[in-house]
Amino acid sequence: MNPPNLLYAKTHEWTRVEESGGAKIATVGITAFAVEALTDLVFMELPKVGRQVKAGEAFGEIESVKAVSDLYAPVTGEVIEVNSGLPEKLETLNADPFGAGWVAKIRITDDSALSNLMNAAAYEKQCAEEAH
């Protein structure tokens, strides 16, 4: 269920890295496992476009009926675009977490943090462990 072409953070964010005009652009979202674990979503706070983020830094928030959780930037760079319609349509995260439910695009300025991200198989293993 976790697309094999993505990278995954321990904190359950997914990242798709694409080259565009010589820059590396990371599209970032929340995995289906995380959306399921959060249960019913209520609010979301997106990062501001233009913000410089460091890998591992909290750059947004998501609130469910259970708790408020931070969203962590999986890469270091500048936020160049956010999925601004998402907070109004949180059900998109349930329906299509790896597609239409993307959260932000980050222009990577330092790609050293990419090596900390997992492939789908390693992430699946982490999820299996966490489920118990």
Partner: protein, 490 residues
């Protein structure tokens, strides 16, 4: 039978012109509103208050009161909240006219009885906590946290002026803490930093060491913690915190487990709060008022809120001349009604009785744990303090039954639900705290209900509760588009 008609909204029951009081005709000449009040201060029309007769109002509230679960009607194992039965005797004493009818602006000399009570309560809380000085002002547990952190901030400001040490900006809290801990830290102007727990539920000392430094003002610990486990590393934790010049705060939410057994001051805490509405029989669950008195070590005493109750000769006085005090955090003396009940509770039980309270609370929790652990996994071991956290994660994976489903279904069996989905470190958490005031029969009946529910069909549970006036409110819609004001339907 419930009178459903009486529980319609008061606005729906209203009839124009209906009254509950009959006043004698006024013998003072009437003057028009515009004579008495400049037009810009007058509302365009009177407030649309419901108009009702006295029996309408009495029946409305009496019937509403029976729709609720309370400690007086149901077993209430709401973990972390200590919903013990509160004896009616303490209510009666708190309602005595000599206490209930006092006015805070009376002279000190005419308040000697109440001041003596508060003075002695300060002393008893110090004795139970193993600390030196108390403030009874905070109005709730989280307010106690905030007050203590403000006291700590004032203490460090003072110390920095004397020693030139850098500002302390951080407050550390474990990831299993009550959400109020980091919130209080933020409100008090600190940066809240989370310290991880080990897989077995205790403070991760390596992570604590890594995050402790000379910028750390306070580490806030709940011990026993929110998993119902006593962290035996607490003295080492206190040592590590003190080594960096910081203070150890004890969140007293779980004091019901250690009264007369262990004193926070002895295991290294420098300040703490009590929740008299949990531990000392204040009314609880109705939204307040609560109380959150704090106790602190002697070096923090000058910074406590002002006034405190002191004894001068044989008179009790309110001490205002405290130049280092952070000032008032609550009007007058705090929520004295709750404090009076706490005083009665403490005087009734005495030192030995308090120890028995905790021993029985721990025994009841362990009995219940032993009865349910074969059916519902308890991830953190076979022994607990006054509460334990079970997990429905396995049964959710196997049969699609969640902690929420089980909690909702318990209502049909006549039990208040345990706390669910807290602490956040346990998946599908169910936090169960029976308290010392329940008999074996009640604990057995609850355990039997829990076991029967686990055998029921997932469909039955997904739709539960089936017997309450409202089944499952739409929590998402309530949070996203709350309707907080009634308006007549079109």
């Amino acid at each position: 039978m419930r009178n459903q008609q009486a529980t319609q909204l008061l606005f729906e029951l209203s009839k124009p012109g209906r009254r509950g009081a009959k006043l004698p005709a006024s013998d003072v000449p009437a003057r028009s509103l515009s004579d008495l009040l400049p037009a810009e201060h007058a509302a365009a029309f009177p407030p649309p208050l419901p108009e009702l007769a006295e029996p309408d109002v009495v029946r409305h509230f009496t019937n509403l009161s029976t729709k609720n679960m309370s400690v007086d009607t149901h077993f209430y194992p709401l973990g972390s909240c200590t919903m013990k039965y509160n004896s009616k005797r303490n209510e009666r004493i708190a309602a005595l006219p000599g206490l209930a009818n006092l006015h805070p602006y009376q002279s000190e000399d005419s308040l000697q009885g109440l001041l003596q009570l508060l003075y002695e309560l300060q002393g008893m809380l110090c004795e139970i906590s193993g600390l030196d000085a108390a403030s009874l002002q905070p109005a709730a547990g989280a307010h106690g946290e905030l007050t203590a952190l403000m006291v700590a901030a004032a203490y460090f400001r003072d110390r920095a002026q004397q020693t030139g040490e850098p500002r302390r900006t951080k407050v550390l809290t474990p990831d299993s803490s009550h959400g109020t801990n980091p919130a209080s830290a933020a409100v008090a102007g600190f940066e809240a930093v989370t310290v991880r727990s080990t897989p077995d539920g205790f403070v991760d000392l390596a992570d604590l060491r890594a995050k402790l430094d000379r910028q750390t003002a306070v580490f806030m610990i709940t011990n026993p913690n929110t998993l119902g486990l006593f962290d035996r590393q607490v003295r080492e934790i206190a040592h590590l915190v003190h080594e960096q010049g910081g203070l150890l705060y004890l969140d007293g939410a779980n004091m019901n487990a250690i009264l007369g057994v262990a004193r926070p001051g002895d295991f290294g805490a420098d300040m703490m709060h009590f929740n008299p509405h949990k531990t000392f029989s204040g009314p609880h669950g109705g939204g307040g008022p609560g109380a959150g008195p704090i106790t602190v070590r002697a070096m923090l005493e000058p910074y406590l809120p002002s006034p405190v109750v002191t004894k001068v000769g044989d008179r009790y006085r309110l001490a205002f001349d405290r130049p280092k005090s952070i000032g008032r955090v609550r009007s007058f003396f705090g929520n004295t009604g709750v404090l009076v009940r706490a005083y009665c509770y403490l005087r009734t039980h005495g030192p030995d009785g308090l120890r028995r309270v905790s021993e029985q609370a721990v025994l009841n929790a362990n009995y219940l744990l032993a009865k349910v652990k074969d059916r519902l996994s308890v991830p953190h071991g076979d022994r607990c303090m006054h509460e334990f956290v079970a997990s429905a994660a396995k049964i959710k994976a196997q049969r699609g039954i969640s902690a929420m489903d089980i909690a909702k279904r318990l209502l049909d069996y006549g039990f208040h639900a345990p706390t669910v989905y807290f602490p956040l470190t346990v998946k599908e958490a169910m936090m169960i705290e029976p308290t010392e005031t329940e008999g074996k029969e009640t604990l057995d009946a609850f355990a039997d209900a829990l076991v029967r529910i686990l055998d029921e069909s997932p469909e039955t549970l997904h739709d539960a509760p089936h017997t309450t006036p409202i089944s499952r409110p739409d929590e998402v819609r309530a949070a996203r588009t709350p309707v907080v004001r009634w308006s007549p339907s079109a």
